[in-house]
Symmetry: C2
Subunit: 661 residues, 2 copies
Amino acid sequence: MDSKDDKAEGVVVLDVPQDHGVNFSTRREFGTKLKSGLRETFFPDDPFRQFKNEERRWRRVVKGVEYFVPIFEWLPNYSMRLFWSDLIAGLTITSLAIPQGISYAKLANLPPVIGLYSSFVPPLVYAIFGSSRHMAVGTIAAASLLIGQTIQTVADPVQEPTLFLHLVFTTTFVTGLFQASLGIFRLGILVDFFSHSTITGFMGGTAVILILQQLKGIFGMTHFSTKTNVVSVIKGIIDNRHEIRWETIVLGVIFVSFLQFTAHVRERKPKLFWVSAIAPMTTVVVAGVFTYLVKGQNHGIKIVGHLDKGINPLSIHYLNFDSKYLSAVLRAGIITGILSLAEGIAIGRSFAVTANTPHDGNKEMVAFGLMNLCGSFTSCYLTSGPFSKTAVNYNAGCKTPMTNVVQGVLMALTLLFLAPLFGHTPIVALSSIITSAMLGLIKYGVFVHLFKVDKFDFLICMAAFLGVIFLTMDQGLMISIALSLLRALLYVARPATCKLGKLDDSSGSYRDVDQYTPTTTYPGVLIIQLGSPIYFANAIYVKERIMRYVRSEKDSDGGVEQIILDFSGVTSIDMTGIEGLLETYRVLERNGIQMLIVNPRLEVMEKLVASNFVDKVGMDSFYLNLDDAVNATQYSLRSLKTNNNNINEDTTHQQLPDHHA
Amino acid sequence: MDSKDDKAEGVVVLDVPQDHGVNFSTRREFGTKLKSGLRETFFPDDPFRQFKNEERRWRRVVKGVEYFVPIFEWLPNYSMRLFWSDLIAGLTITSLAIPQGISYAKLANLPPVIGLYSSFVPPLVYAIFGSSRHMAVGTIAAASLLIGQTIQTVADPVQEPTLFLHLVFTTTFVTGLFQASLGIFRLGILVDFFSHSTITGFMGGTAVILILQQLKGIFGMTHFSTKTNVVSVIKGIIDNRHEIRWETIVLGVIFVSFLQFTAHVRERKPKLFWVSAIAPMTTVVVAGVFTYLVKGQNHGIKIVGHLDKGINPLSIHYLNFDSKYLSAVLRAGIITGILSLAEGIAIGRSFAVTANTPHDGNKEMVAFGLMNLCGSFTSCYLTSGPFSKTAVNYNAGCKTPMTNVVQGVLMALTLLFLAPLFGHTPIVALSSIITSAMLGLIKYGVFVHLFKVDKFDFLICMAAFLGVIFLTMDQGLMISIALSLLRALLYVARPATCKLGKLDDSSGSYRDVDQYTPTTTYPGVLIIQLGSPIYFANAIYVKERIMRYVRSEKDSDGGVEQIILDFSGVTSIDMTGIEGLLETYRVLERNGIQMLIVNPRLEVMEKLVASNFVDKVGMDSFYLNLDDAVNATQYSLRSLKTNNNNINEDTTHQQLPDHHA
């Protein structure tokens, strides 16, 4: 060490530049680094760009309001032509919203009318604050089931229906507050940790347990498992098999077949989207009329029951923050909140990409949050942007969030005048609608694709899928996310490295010798490309990996005299990483091997300088290009050096004996 | 999309190679990838290299035994010359082990003799299985306090001393089992997540609360706070201030000054290491004789009390796995186990690097585990490789683990013949020894260095330091580790990217424009270097970041027609990452911007091919070198292309209009 320190000091007094063109001096102030770090973490999309550069003050205010309340962006340019499109789309999604609202409310053990209420206020709120052009607001099956499952652990929906209802409103309030805060504090980063694989697996698993739950309605049973996992449900069906009615099964099979057929039609001919869009409503009407005519209740065909006329009553005074229930409410609120965000944002984004329309994740969070907050004050429960409804909306030709206004108004009219009619809907029709919708969410094709492309992604997906089916919904989700995080940590704990060789083509690039052959290698010189940050979780690994390269080189080629580390891919380094690197340097030095570092990036160089690493190793160990470093190691190539950047002769020196450790 | 698919299919029938030298075909079997992944995760140091290549079977067995039981490696070559060195070092560390053993046992609320027992059996076990040449086995202060604190939550050390003692043995058993399992299952990766910053902060914080605890002994108090945080301790002292004795304070100040002076001597003249090494023993002897002569007990000077003669009794039948205590035992065992491993391995490694001797983290874990397992059977509590003792051992010139044998034998002799004498040691002497040892563990210099080099590392360090002082030891540790993990996740959620430009030197490399100037840029062409893996946690970020580059380019230069993404630093990709990339490609395409990808690495290319990404984007979007890609984008440089790898003319095409979105 001491000798190296002397050397580093010596460098300063020499006239010959020893830095090989490497820039050691670009340093950023702490404030600059912090600001840039915070910006990259929380504002990667630079949200204020639209108005911060406006010079006139009032323009800035106007643009700011337009930014935060998107309705001001699109409404001024709204036209009748756009309205006709939106009206048709709005009619279509309302015809879907009525049966879905009633069905999903039943999943959450709520009175069916709550499902209808939830398609009135939230769509209006979303129309004001939402940034997506295609999102159709509504309740979602998975979250409905999850809320019901969680809240029924503290309040029985049959024994204490009022308490249960009030706790669900409170959950919705928590969800809204949580989602809006995520958006305001720019914490969209949390949603990033829900990978496609987790969502696909979770959705598939939820679809399976939802279909299992529908067997109650399709079999016409009264008693059923209160747990959702497949083992309990099958056991529950076998135990109560005497309740099974053939009449409802026949109806169920007919309805599911009809709905599946219309879905198939849509898939084959996207222009006939409306066939599948109005199919649920058709099912409800046909089933209701049929049951009424044949007096189905005498044949074991149950109906929804009484539905009150009238729009949403206020519910703000029902919010219940009793500490006895708070933990269940918080859990349900936060899990469903983040889940519905992850799904809703992913769906909104994918349609925005397809149609090249704007979409802003953080604004969506605020919009979702506000719509659930307002919902919790007006007898609604959790709403989001369900995939099926949004896809129908898109295919129906929606142009702006005005479709949600249409949906809200139509739903209000339905509530005011038609609600009692829907009380005659047979349960089996609703079960068939859910079953059919869920069949489309089990994406076998994606499972196979994941298996082919990435086994770990497949594992993450299957963990969610099987976890939801065999354990509970939140356990499945948690296991899958834990696996994703484990993978993220493994990525950084075991970063990929590779040995480089020079290609024989005219470019003379250095590439992975396992990927490209033939390549030129230089006897005694080992070139290693490091990837990803070097820091506490991988500092020891990186050292071990380098030593293993040295050993395997010795075994095959008989010795290493210089190691060139390509730092181009090292995006960051921390103190443990620097210590590890210094340790590597010392171990190599003791084995008579010189370590050269090529092209450290800005962030890395700053820290190497600040921590005195550069002084300890010597500036002359740093090179800007692999070629310069390789040339410096080659006696035979000395003539080349005159063409390069003033490489000091001193750096090719010291062919230390290779004394094996 | 469809048009792209056609294009990709078209490529196959063309005779002109369109791959620009990029290798699309190197694919590894799943088995190969899995094997290599597992090897990198669990066997990065290739531990079996020493014997797996041996051809003769018996040589392989011999080498295998030598590998797993390191004593067979060094004992056959052992000589009298080595023994003299080891004897002196062994004598020195034993003189340290006696007072430390007694003091630290008191920290854990254990009978003092347990501390002496713990320096007999464990060192002998370590001598057989340990791979480090310099490790001196003994009890450690932080873990002693932590065990005491945790176990006293379920068993009172004063009311139920026997139960307390048995639970501590059980904790030691759990620690041993846990450590050995980590080593056997090659889970050293867990220890990697304890960063230098965490350990430094935790050690410093522990030193502070340990010094606070010593005020009881130095002030000669009887009643004291049972909590360790600084507020409780100061409140406890103020409440019981009438118990403070000036006699012990005077003695304490003298002893601490003496010990600090000897430490100072060692720092200035490393050759005088023995002065500080025998200082604690000197303190004990002088203090004991003095107290005996002046009848100190009449002046409030408390002594250790009765110590039995005789070596360790068996304790295997005392292990208590009652479920009532199990959770506390498991918690204490696992936390102290991983903590003492992290410290012990880091210390062993740093001395191994300094002296260029072997050191194997996983073997150390097994050795530590076995020594604690054997310890728990023979009335010992947790042992590890404490820094102070190991440093003394190293400075005393130890050569092999034989020093631990010497320590064990000398301790056995002490237990057999001298134990009762040490019963006369005044508590204040022990408190002074701990205080003095702990003063050296608060590393102000490192704190300052961390603050200078890396603010986040400083934050992690301070979280541990302040957390331990103001909350509890485990909370401080957990907060710090959580921050480290958060940082690791942030690293991967927000990977560094930079804009590249061509340097004007002869090498023509492409470098970060913020780091190197002046650089050549090409109008309409944006070159971006991506770092780290692209996957679920950063897929959206990467897209946003690229779009921001495009926007800022438009603002300044008036348009982007091609984006070149340098993938050299992208070590891995997952499904969400591929989807995100495809989304980016489509958004860019819609904006009339062409996306070119340069040099994807092996792992990345495999997945891009398997997921059909290459088919969708077209093989002609991939380039091997930045230069080739840049040339392809430049009409004006068309003449250059004949010198390069058969670049198809088709690729420079499509100067799509830059219709602003």
